[in-house]
Amino acid sequence: MENVVEHSLAADGLAVGYDQREIIHDLSVRIPTGKITVIVGANACGKSTLLKTLARLLKPSRGTVLLDGKSIQQIPTREVATKLGLLPQSPTAPEGITVADLVGRGRYPRTRWIRQWSKSDDEAVAEAMTSTDVLSIADRPIDELSGGQRQRVWIAMALAQETDILLLDEPTTFLDLTHQFEVLDLLVDLNKSDDRTIVLVLHDLNQACRFGDHLIAMKDGDIVAEGNPSEVITEDVVQDVFGLAVKVVPDPVAGTPMVVPIGRHTSRTDRTDTAAAGSSSGNLAAAALAASAAANGVCRPTPE
């Protein structure tokens, strides 16, 4: 994959808002090429707004988004669509559309109304559907699929677009734990196999740490910290970004940072906060950690 032209995405001095309310005030960022970048932050911190602005869905009031060093607003939108794909948070499918048809529509930026469907389009669709493992359901209507299958179909549509950069807005929402990991593992596969640049918004910090090469933590429309997960996800940053006291321990499976919220009640029996947080050997504290970790979808933790 050495000969593939890598595309770069960056933002410079962005200010974005809806109507009168400005959400992002002055934000600059470079998306590392060929890596998985995860944007995290509390609700309404502007992470989706940033993603949409990067995908040119929102027009910044100040500043620019740069695709290959050129302002994205200046590039014809069709041309952008051959370099940058987007999966919105809750895409809508026309009633009764089949999987193959929906994925096929991802070819739009690469067809012209004179040059209609061709063999290469079929191949691109086939490849997208093979890598997302939805080929076997090619002729099923999309409304009959499970949430996980549907999300994979949408990802296949974005893949059929054959872009080097892929932006996904909370692709794991509404999926159960198994399907969440299925989708995230798939994104890692895609990133590894042809060095795609992937940017996604995630809510789960532990998943963000596990799957992201590069994390961007946002608060009030600003970037608080960015870098690799172990630099970004510290107890101080989480306290700052989410206003939540946590303990960060190594993920027993992947070794990446794992966030364990402390909260006000650490066990069902009456134990004070300080005792639970301070203790490293108490059985109850270990049980609380285990319960919390299980809730986050991680196997049993080894005691510190």
Binding site: A42, N43, F242, G243, L244
Partner: protein, 357 residues
């Protein structure tokens, strides 16, 4: 993840202490506003009695009301024409304002208005049928027909629009109303095309007007509207619970199905009677509750009385304007309210997310 401030406001004493005097002050403001509306309404009513093809000075109007003199033509006009007309305007206005607020509350739908819910289409078909098959031609006969038609149509639309899981969404109800109105309209037209006389009578009813309505019509609809008004003023608390959604209302101990039925019956009483008295009048029921809501906030215990007073102010005002702008004839009140009301509605659609009521 709760914001840090959640902890502070969780303390009941701290939160309630400053709220109490504020609430009392707000209450005083709202009561004063209500009194202001009442004064304005009385003023508009006096104007409605005074202004017409023959102008009558306010002093004579008050004189005619207090010391009636049969030999004075002005007094006769006031007593036999202007007063019944104004009373009908008052009743129709109050009924439309209330039924609009009730409909919007119970459907959680800012688009619910008697006209949009097909009441007018049903009333029209029944009136035309009455003229065509039974040769009815008096306004008093129309009242009963319109009443029956309105009831039938609104029940059908409400039923169609609120089937299904998520209940009556704005678009669904509007379209169920549009569909039924179109079908009824088609049937109505079929009758009208075959018969010039029927059409000739119907076109004057269908535009919505107070012209020619005398004390007999007023007496006919008054009992329905009075009962409806009294019942609807009890609905405030129920609507407040319903406005949080069916699930929350249920968990608050509200019997949702029963409450909805009760409100629907009140709406049919009110708006059926209003349409029967004056023909289809658009947009009062739709817009007035929104105006009321701007003043009062989302509390239906205040929205309802405000709607009841504001609607007749607009309606009687439109009627007066209609009488003045087209002298020596008059512009029907239905036309004036649509032309005044629709732009307001459009502004509303542009400014707000209507879906979240």
């Amino acid at each position: 993840m709760p914001p840090p401030s959640a902890v502070a406001s969780a303390d009941p004493d701290l939160a309630a202490a400053p709220a109490r005097p504020q609430r009392r002050a707000r209450r005083t403001t709202l009561v004063l506003g209500l009194i202001g509306c009442l004064v304005l309404l009385i003023l508009v009513m006096l104007l409605s009695i005074a202004i017409g093809s023959k102008q009558i000075p306010l002093s004579t109007v008050i004189d005619a009301l207090r010391h009636y003199n049969e030999s004075n033509t002005d007094h006769v006009i006031v007593r036999s024409l202007r007063v019944p007309r104004t009373l009908i305007g008052l009743m129709v206005g109050a009924a439309l304002g209330l039924s609009g607020a009730l409909m919007q509350g119970v459907t959680r739908n800012p688009l619910a208005d008697p006209g949009i819910l097909g009441v007018n289409g049903g009333a029209a078909l029944f009136v035309v049928g009455g003229i065509y098959w039974f040769g009815l031609s008096t306004l008093t006969a129309y009242v009963w027909l319109a009443f029956a038609g309105a009831a039938a149509a609104s029940v059908a639309v409400y039923f169609l629009g609120s089937l299904g899981r998520e209940g009556a969404t704005p678009v669904k109800l509007a379209l169920a109303g549009a569909a039924l109105t179109a079908m009824l309209g088609s049937l109505t037209t079929a009758l009208l095309i075959g018969d010039v006389d029927t059409f000739d009578q119907f076109r004057f009813w269908s535009v919505g007007s107070f012209a020619g309505r005398g004390s007999d019509v007023a007496a006919q609809v008054a009992p329905f509207i009075l009962v409806g008004v009294v019942l609807s003023l009890f609905c405030g608390r129920v609507l407040n619970a319903m406005s949080l959604g069916d699930d929350v209302a249920k968990s608050l101990g509200q019997r949702v199905g029963l409450a909805r039925l009760f409100v629907a019956v009140v709406v049919v009483l009110l708006c059926g009677a209003a349409t029967a008295a004056a023909g289809p009048i658009g947009f009062i029921g739709l817009t007035i509750p929104h105006v009321a809501r701007l003043v009062t906030g989302p509390d239906y215990r205040w929205i309802l009385p405000y709607s009841m007073l504001l609607a007749p102010i607009l309606l009687l005002g439109s009627d007066v304007i209609g009488r003045v702008v087209a002298l020596p004839g008059e512009l029907q009140v239905g036309v004036v309210t649509a032309i005044l009301g629709a732009p307001f509605f459009i502004i509303l659609v542009r400014r707000r997310k209507l879906a979240d009521l």
